[in-house]
């Protein structure tokens, strides 16, 4: 869909980004690009740094080194709010829901429609929330209920709906299907496909289910121990290749029994 060296069409470029937490190096010299209308899959082991990368792109963390380019211009996000104002929206792996708030308030948190310039438009939030959740095939007792009372999948649906329906330029989805039922999962993938078809929005999806990644993504990146080690269009790879890439390491480990120390 995009040629590897056409920066002009890239809505997002991450260049040489590193990030340490205390003594843990979560990311080292990572480069990523996302073209307009593209869906990029990001895969990798647990603790590889995927979520950290995403949180840097959405302005939650600040990178230690490196820079981020939006439509070719370097940006430095002061906050999540700032990044969102520039069109970047995120589904977090930990969902970032407020247990104390109702479903609809969570869905519109920090993006609440108001009337008279200041009063919350609860009516609008309620009906939109209900519609979006219906679209996703997720049934919840009521949009007035506090999210603390919902099931795992219902909670995830709220987080996904919050971002997917936000009409932003760039969507970052961190394991959006992790707690989703088979049926609801299919429906969300449909939704992503719809968005892609409209070509307005560029999406980056983190997922551990490679079949799903291959199904909706245009391109796959593999993050290993904080570095990107693989970058191919999905058309030119396969489930087998991805599985082999990742599981190979595991096989060797298993074959040689348990490694003596911690692997690097």
């Amino acid at each position: 869909m995009t040629s590897p060296d056409a920066p002009s069409t890239d809505v997002l470029r991450v260049e040489h980004v590193s990030k340490r937490f205390g003594t843990v190096t979560a990311l080292r010299d990572v480069n990523i690009r996302l073209a307009k209308g593209e869906v990029l899959g990001l895969i990798g082991d647990n603790g590889a740094g995927k979520s950290t990368l995403m949180k840097i792109i959405c302005g939650f963390h600040q990178p230690d080194t490196g820079r981020i380019l939006l439509d070719g211009d370097e940006v430095s996000f002061r906050s999540v709010d700032h990044a969102r104002a520039l069109g970047i929206d995120t589904v977090y792996q930990d969902l970032a829901l407020i247990n104390e708030l109702s479903v609809y308030h969570n869905m519109f948190l920090n993006r609440e429609p108001v009337i008279l310039g200041c009063l919350l438009n609860n009516r609008k939030m309620r009906s939109l929330a209900r519609r979006h959740l219906d679209d996703m095939g997720v049934h919840i007792p009521s949009v007035d209920v506090e999210v603390a009372k919902l099931s795992g999948g219902q909670r995830q649906a709220i987080a996904v709906a919050r971002s997917v329906y936000s009409r932003s330029k760039i969507l970052l989805l961190d394991e959006p299907l992790a707690a989703m039922g088979a049926k609801e999962g299919v429906q969300i993938l449909d939704l992503v496909r719809d968005l892609k078809a409209r070509g307005e929005v560029s999406i980056m999806i983190i997922a551990h289910n490679y079949a799903q990644v291959l199904e909706v993504c245009d391109r796959v990146n593999l993050l290993q121990h904080g570095s990107i080690t693989f970058d191919k269009p999905t058309a030119r790879t396969s489930l087998k290749e991805l599985t082999d890439l990742v599981v190979a390491e595991y096989r060797t480990a298993r074959a040689g029994l348990r490694p003596a120390g911690d692997p690097p």
Partner: protein, 356 residues
């Protein structure tokens, strides 16, 4: 005061995912309206405190004829109003996960600021009063900045401010009360606390305003979000620092305001107004009685005001009956425990009885 938005929920409400029969015909009409009112009442978290407040009122009314006289109503509203007003700020702070111990001494400082501004610096009445309020705002801002930017826990920040402001009040006043300046000891003073019903009026206006702010604006929603799940709120882009600092400023301003109306009421400017941590303590108690969680994330403004009312009723009622100094505390403690056990029991009933 029902949520304005409550009437827009669909009927039949999709309450039961597993297919509970829809409301039947009999529920329409008058019964339906009654049930709606009952539901609406039960839906409100403040309902149980209100019942406790009413029950206490009924008890004291039966125990003393004087309880329901207008004079005594004035007395109760005057006792409840300052803590209700301060509780508005405290509820916002507690919900956003912070506390302000200094609010009571800010109440003592504000009328002195007014006094200094008028009597020493020659300001006219109204600007002096605004300056006094602003002092509260600025102290709140200081508390907020130290807490949010320097990351000192607010308990400690405001403990420091508490002593600091106490010191300022004592050194500047010589620990001696001052008189209300003549230039405000007039109509202004009447409006600001000296008149019989001034306290009630201010309390109603302020509580109503903050109730709307808390339940119907983004500020309130974000306050809950920040206190309920700070990280989550930040991930969602909520400016947690701003919210907290803002709430400190609100609390400081309301503390100053409470101090001013109290000074006008007792007609003296006393360095011990607010009783050190006393007013803060009463306001926090009112907030918690009203259903605000000390740990943050949930609360109600009206509940806080009702909590202040409950405390004022207890104080007034037992004094009306005439309990002596020493057993007074015993009885007060016992009634607080009983009333709050009843309150918790009522809330549980309420939750069980809710039909939606």
């Amino acid at each position: 005061m029902p949520d304005i938005g409550d009437d827009v929920r669909d009927s039949p409400a999709p309450a039961d995912v597993t297919g509970r029969p829809a409301p039947n015909g009999a529920r329409r009409g008058a019964t339906w309206i009654l049930l709606r009112v009952r539901d609406e009442f039960l839906r409100r978290r403040e309902a149980s405190v209100l019942v406790v407040a009413l029950a206490l009122g009924a008890y004291f009314a039966s125990a003393s004829e004087a309880f329901l006289t207008p004079d005594n109503m004035v007395n109760i509203t005057q006792a409840a109003a300052p803590s209700a007003i301060v509780a508005c700020g405290i509820v916002l702070l507690l919900v956003s996960g912070e506390i302000d111990l200094s609010v009571g001494v800010v109440a003592a400082l504000a009328p002195f600021m007014m006094h200094y501004a008028i009597d020493y610096w020659g300001l006219p009445g109204i600007p002096a009063i605004l300056l006094a309020l602003l002092t509260g705002t600025v102290i709140g801002l200081g508390n907020g900045l130290v807490t949010v930017l320097l990351k000192v826990p607010s308990f400690i920040t405001t403990l420091g401010t508490f002593y600091l402001v106490t010191g300022i009040v004592l050194t500047t006043s010589g620990a001696y009360p001052a008189e209300i300046p003549a230039s405000v000891d007039n109509q202004i003073g009447q409006w600001l606390g000296a008149a019989m019903w001034a306290h009630l009026g201010w309390a109603l206006v302020i509580v109503a305003f903050f109730h709307v702010l808390f339940t119907r604006t983004r500020w309130g929603l974000h306050t809950i979000a920040v206190g309920g799940n700070l990280l989550g709120a930040q991930e969602a882009g909520v400016r947690a620092g701003r919210i907290k600092i803002g709430n400190f400023m609100i609390a400081g301003t309301l503390g100053a305001f409470a101090g001013i109306i109290e000074a006008f009421r007792v007609h003296t400017i006393d360095p011990n107004l607010g009783g050190g941590t006393g007013l803060m303590f009463t306001a926090v108690s009112a907030a918690v009685i009203g259903g605000t969680a000390l740990a943050g994330g949930s609360g109600t403004i009206i509940g806080g005001a009702l909590g202040a009312l409950v405390l004022a009723e207890l104080q007034d009622g037992f004094n009306l009956i005439g309990i002596s100094a020493n057993p007074y505390f015993l009885i007060l403690g016992g009634s607080i425990l009983l009333a709050m056990i009843a309150n918790v029991y009522l809330s549980r009933l309420r939750r069980a009885g809710k039909t939606t």
